[in-house]
């Protein structure tokens, strides 16, 4: 239920920009080259335009042309050091098709799945504990110098340590399965280059009960933090959007493989079990002049109604059930929050994220106990083809890798739609909602700006690097009159104090 959905669409582009004041919310991303928010306000401080600009450009699609296909899984993961395994595996799934492999051996598939659960576990722990918990625990207006993981370590040492160790465990699962913690290389065309040894399995099993228990604690904490300011948290940055994810054939949550499923805001299926190799028939990407990140939308609904969200919120809303018991119970409770429809509250992303963290912990245990995980059949071969599309549910949402090669196996074309790009429209809508609800007609203050950051942060956006940092960054606001003169300025300075002028 959105409060005033009516006009947020109009806030993308002001009718008459001349004479409006420009307010720039400039996170350190300006310096790190990632993103920033700009607002245009009229003389009564009514927000007329709000945009999240992504200022980063790498050019992967061009420079991988001419490279051999088997390099893709190791090369393209260098897009992102926070979820490299997701890129490694999405590329590997596309490469499997290039070498004509439809079905991996049970061992290869399970090793890859284990690696990916480790990835999602570590990324969710990082996002919740290291990056978001300071806001949720201390409040959005806590002292800047204190509002970070070191502050959590000082005030809640046990909790912070759990976060550090949960992340460590995920990284260890990755190290065992991928060869190293960041940018491993174990997925190869048609399989993997190593299985898990019995010693490695026992090493990981040693801590798993503790990890599951901490996962339950993290889930309880996320829920508690949402409920302690329920009205605010429920309505904050609330937008009604479609939801997209992959689901297993029987409708279960699956982060590694499945068909595409999309629902309308009230939960009606738009499509289900779509072969993701045909993603181009369902999703198009619009370019806008003011951002390097494209704006995908569901083609059947058109550019204005086709906005959708991906990631934990979409996945937990979309799936019919979860096949691990603790996470399933948590999912049922989560869905009840919406009274029949989909949970649309933007801050519920954190809650859904911890449901998934628990699912990952349970899933890791199940795979470690599976005899296939130490098997010896690692690889299959097939007939070469010219096109491959790999899709996976990365920590932040559905991730598409699409490669075309010539007869020498050299890449001729590529397209990547990363998770955060899928959320581009929704993140823009969310900041407009915050602007409409909390900024309109008021003198701007630092906590108001922080609320814009909080909305962006819920999505856990990752723009190949520090976009978490986007969420964690201090702000500077400049009011510029129509002639370009700075009339007012507030900032959090380098030492974290808020000042003016």
């Amino acid at each position: 239920m959105t409060k005033n959905n009516t006009d947020i669409e109009d806030l993308e582009t002001a009718q008459d920009p001349a004479g409006l004041r420009r307010v720039e919310i400039e996170p350190v991303t300006r310096v790190e080259g990632h993103g920033k928010v700009t607002l245009l306000l009229d003389e009564d401080n009514q927000v007329k335009q709000a945009r999240l600009h992504i200022t980063e450009f790498r050019g992967f699609e061009k420079f991988i042309q001419g490279r051999p296909y088997w390099e893709m899984p190791v090369l393209v993961q260098r897009l992102c050091g926070i979820c490299p395994v997701s890129h490694h595996l999405a590329a590997a799934k596309a490469v499997d098709q290039l070498v004509g492999v439809e079905q991996l051996t049970p061992t290869a598939e399970k090793v890859r799945r284990l690696m990916h659960l480790g990835q999602v576990l570590q990324s969710h722990a990082l996002h919740f504990f290291h990056l978001s918990s300071p806001d949720l625990l201390f409040g959005y207006d806590d002292a800047v110098a204190h509002r970070n993981i070191i502050g959590v370590l000082a005030d809640h040492p046990d909790l912070a340590k759990q976060g550090v160790l949960l992340r460590k465990y995920g990284q260890e699962v990755i190290r065992v399965t991928a060869g190293k913690r960041v940018h491993g290389n174990s997925a190869i065309p048609g399989g993997v280059n190593k299985a898990v040894s019995p010693e490695e399995r026992d090493y990981l099993l040693g801590d798993i009960e503790q990890i599951i228990q901490w996962g339950q604690g993290a889930l309880a904490l996320a829920k508690k933090l949402i409920f302690q300011e329920l009205e605010y948290n429920r309505n904050f940055a609330l937008i009604d959007t479609n939801m997209l994810s992959i689901c297993r054939e029987d409708g279960a949550l699956d982060l590694y493989h499945g068909g595409l499923r999309a629902r309308t805001p009230d939960g009606t299926l738009i499509f289900d079990q779509v072969d993701y190799r045909n993603y181009g028939d369902y999703i198009h990407e619009q370019v806008k002049s003011w951002s390097y990140m494209k704006f995908p939308y569901l083609r059947s609904l058109g550019q204005s109604d086709g906005s959708y969200r991906v990631g934990p919120l979409a996945r937990i809303n979309n799936c019919d059930y979860i096949d691990t018991p603790l996470a399933e119970a948590a999912r049922v409770e989560f869905r009840a929050f919406a009274d029949g429809g989909l949970v649309q509250s933007t801050l519920a992303y954190h809650w859904a994220r911890m449901v998934e963290l628990l699912y990952c912990a349970e899933g890791i245990k199940r795979l470690l106990l599976d005899p296939d995980i130490t098997g010896t059949e690692l690889k299959v071969r097939g007939e070469m083809r010219n096109k491959g599309v790999g899709v996976i549910e990365a920590p932040r949402g559905t991730l598409f890798h699409h490669y075309e090669i010539d007869d020498d196996g050299l890449v001729t074309r590529a397209n990547l739609i990363v998770s955060t790009t899928n959320n581009n429209r929704a993140m823009n809508q969310s900041i407009r909602q915050v602007a409409a609800d909390y900024l309109n007609g008021r003198e701007l203050t630092e906590p108001m700006l922080n609320q814009i950051e909080v909305a962006i942060r819920a999505y856990d956006p990752c723009l190949s690097c520090a976009t978490h940092a986007l969420g964690k960054m201090p702000l500077e606001l400049e009011l510029v009159d129509a002639d370009g003169a700075v009339v007012d300025r507030i900032y959090k300075n380098g030492r974290g104090e808020v000042g003016e002028g």
Binding site: G33, V287, G496
Partner: protein, 179 residues
Amino acid sequence: MTNKTRVATASLAGCFGCHMSILDIDERIIQLADLVEFDRTPITDIKEVGECDVGIIEGGVCNADNVEVLKEFRRNCKILVSLGACSINGGIPAMRNQYTLKQCLEESYLHGIGVEDAQIPSDPEIPLLLNKLHPIHEVVWVDYFLPGCPPPADTIWTFLEELLSGKPIEFAYRQIRYD
């Protein structure tokens, strides 16, 4: 104010993997927090680099903003460290140097698969891209280089421990690797 060593870090044109490797020191972060005070880093909310003892840079230089931050780091940090393949030689993002910037932009925004409203983003709000990607030592003086993609957490830990205790920086053979 304490007299702990002040450390700042930044990610320029990198993937954040080098920062992940710093976090991969795991529980030792608690020990590190006793020894150092973090200035501007992606995990704190401090924006401008203050006077620091050590600055650590991940990633090469791909746009005008990167140049600005890098120079700000050099001005404020007594010791500047180039961390990882991207800042040392440009890394994977430097693969774009074999094409012109125009070719790269056209591929993504004009000829890309499933692209609509094809146009090259040009709004003044977007920072200026450099024609080529540069390693950071082409722009500023660098005191230490730690190779790897990313450098292993143990290597980073050894480096910080030795640096903080004033010992000569020495690594075991297996700690230096380039993958």
